[in-house]
């Protein structure tokens, strides 16, 4: 749990501008909270979707391979059924089931990885104690900066945030 300074902006441009200025002055920007996707902002703050991509690839291909194995095993080994003298291992008809189920499981694995990467579900988070948090899902842009250790440094940070256009500044935990 870190003590942070929250700054609320009315426009995304002001938020992005503030992040640039804070970084130039070596402040640690922890996160931003926005009512819609601001392209490139998540990557700028260091988020990586690698787990989601990897989980979807592994989950989808792994499931597809397992499905194919079940088809081969059941058709060629467990229950060889002669249908018009066709080969038991009728591989040209096998891809449909692995494809359909593989796509589904890629989605399931990806969803699980998304939750894992974001730490959700977490219904009770210190962020929600901040009075400013509610507007972030509606129409305001919120910035969370690691609070400096001294009061003087915090005042300097607040001054800088105000200069970059922050409408409201407050403290909280994240």
């Amino acid at each position: 749990m870190k003590t942070v300074v929250f700054a609320e902006f009315e426009h995304e441009e002001a938020l992005v501008n503030a992040i640039g200025q804070l970084r130039e002055r070596d402040y640690h920007v922890l996160d931003a909270f926005t009512p819609y996707e601001v392209e490139g902002l998540g990557a700028l703050l260091g988020a990586s979707p690698f787990r989601v991509r990897a989980a979807m690839l592994v989950g989808g291909l792994g499931t597809a391979a397992l499905c194919w194995f079940i088809e081969w095993y059941s058709a060629a080994i467990a229950f060889p059924f002669d249908s018009g003298a066709r080969p038991h291992n009728s591989w040209p008809v096998f891809p449909l089931f692995p494809f359909e189920f593989g796509v589904l499981m890629a989605g399931v694995f990806g969803f699980a990885a998304m939750l894992w990467s974001t730490g959700l579900p977490r219904l009770n988070h210190p962020f929600f104690d901040t009075p400013l948090s509610g507007r972030a899902s509606q129409d305001r842009f919120l910035l969370a900066v690691a609070a400096p250790p001294t009061t003087r440094a915090r005042d300097a940070l607040a001054g800088l945030l105000a200069a970059t256009g922050a409408a409201t500044i407050g403290e909280g935990e994240l």
Partner: protein, 463 residues
């Protein structure tokens, strides 16, 4: 041009005619979007007409499940199927409903990947349509078989009988296609909802709503870091959905194409089923858009330009359908085979000919009105033609079944199908059940993707 916000959050933007715009130019702030979408959900006063519709649809839902109960007690003898025409209404209903279910994912994924921004106003309600339509479609094969306790035999699992599914059968492919598509659609729809559920949580007027929406939102905090991961997942799902949705209805087409009966040997079936699905689905989306727009007063978000665009897509799909029918007719005639030519003659002049001509009118001719801008911008015309398309597409589904099965190679196996009351009750009941579930969706979930529309409003107003 100036942007002037009034108390409702709307604005008039200079000289543009209101029906010329996407809603993005008429709603000029995030808060205006929030008010429009969440307002009805959090207000208990506006729902009188909704209750009337819910009760009416609930009655039809009772009919649906009542008819199914009677079916499971009595067996499939209550349907019009006979020893020759072994497929009937439930199979046609199945193909029709799953076709309608395809458009939601197409709108959501294909239009997202091709950066068609106008989708944002209608994708949520189209996705909900998909979920419900596919779920109903999934019930229909069980209704057709009449023995719900055995449907799991389609799944591969070790059992004491030593039986495994027959992987060469299109019906087994169907089982997996529907199951996968339904589950995938639920995940895709729910993922898209999460940020909007957080908005509802933060605007909730009662503790119960805050808890309910908060739990459904999974504690979403609108973190930019989370959203980056979320958007990667959502877009990847969209990319996967396109081949999935095409494969699902292609597999439904293969139920018929991978056969030896006259009229069921068409290699064109898979792509033509996909286009037909998109066609009937868009027609249903158009009808739902009109209803939702009127019921929730969303004229500022779903404008005539959306209907114009949907009409153009229906026109394209209807023309492709005409081309597909013509290809089917030509290949039947050009094959020179007696059975195929007799099948063609039976389609155009046989016992079901009036329905066949009605189908051609509904699917190929009525939609040609959309060449005219006046028709594309007229809600009565949109509703009338969309309903005709849905009737035509249902006729296509039933006639694909009946024309072939009533007209075998052997004359002694020519026999007609006569639907019973129970056939009609299942069909009407499924429509009522669809309406019932859709009304529940409209009451409790945001019908427009707020977080995407907010982004578009910003882009429009900033630009």
């Amino acid at each position: 041009m100036t942007i002037v916000a009034d108390s409702t959050g709307f604005s008039n933007r200079g000289t543009a005619r209101p029906d010329e715009d996407w809603r993005f130019t008429r709603v000029n702030s995030s808060e205006a979007v929030n008010v429009l979408v969440t307002g009805p959900l959090l207000d208990r006063e506006r729902w009188r007409r909704w209750w009337i519709a819910l009760v009416a649809s609930a009655l039809l839902t009772v009919v649906f499940f009542g008819a199914m109960f009677y079916l499971f007690v009595e067996g499939i003898g209550i349907f019009g199927n006979n020893s020759i025409v072994v497929w009937g209404f439930p199979i046609a209903n199945y193909v029709w409903w799953i076709g309608i279910g395809n458009a939601g994912t197409l709108i959501s994924s294909m239009l997202l990947l091709t950066h068609q921004r106008w989708r944002a106003a209608i994708n949520r309600l189209a996705e909900a349509m998909t979920l419900i339509a596919v779920a109903i479609a999934g019930l229909m094969p069980i209704v057709h078989m009449g023995r719900p306790l055995y449907f799991y035999w389609l799944a591969p699992y070790p059992n004491t009988m030593g039986l495994w599914p027959q992987w060469r059968s299109a019906l087994v492919w169907d089982f997996w296609a529907i199951l996968s598509y339904l589950c995938f659609s639920i995940i895709f729809w729910y993922t898209g909802l999460i940020p909007d559920l957080a908005t509802l949580r933060d605007r909730a007027t009662t503790h119960a709503k805050r808890v309910a929406y908060g739990a459904l939102a999974l504690g979403w905090r609108n973190s930019a870091r989370h959203r980056h991961i979320y958007q990667t997942y959502y877009r990847t799902m969209a990319a996967l959905a396109v081949p999935l949705v095409c494969s699902v209805h292609s597999i439904v087409g293969l139920d018929f194409a991978a056969s030896l009966m006259p009229g069921w040997q068409e290699t064109i079936f898979p792509p033509y089923f996909v286009v037909g699905a998109m066609y009937s689905g868009f027609a249903m989306v158009a009808v739902l858009c009109v209803a939702v727009r009127w019921g929730l007063r969303l004229e500022a978000l779903i404008t005539m330009r959306h209907f114009d665009m949907m009409a153009k897509i229906m026109l394209m799909a209807g023309t492709v359908m005409l081309l597909s029918y013509a290809t089917e007719w030509f290949s039947g005639w050009y094959s020179g085979r007696g059975a195929d030519r007799r099948f063609l003659a039976f389609s155009f002049a046989g016992a079901y000919a009036p329905f066949y001509w009605t189908m051609i009118f509904c699917n190929c001719l009525a939609v040609q009105a959309f060449w005219f801008r006046a028709a594309r911008r007229s809600l009565p015309a949109i509703i009338a033609i969309s309903v005709l398309i849905n009737i035509g597409m249902w006729l296509e589904r039933i006639l694909i079944v009946l024309n072939t099965l009533s007209h075998h190679y052997v004359v002694s196996m020519w026999r007609l199908f006569y639907p019973t009351l129970w056939d009609w009750l299942i069909l009407a009941g499924s429509l009522g059940f669809f309406a019932f579930l859709y009304l529940l969706f409209v009451r409790f979930f945001p019908v427009v993707s707020m977080h995407e529309v907010r982004q578009l409003v910003h882009e429009e107003t900033a630009g």
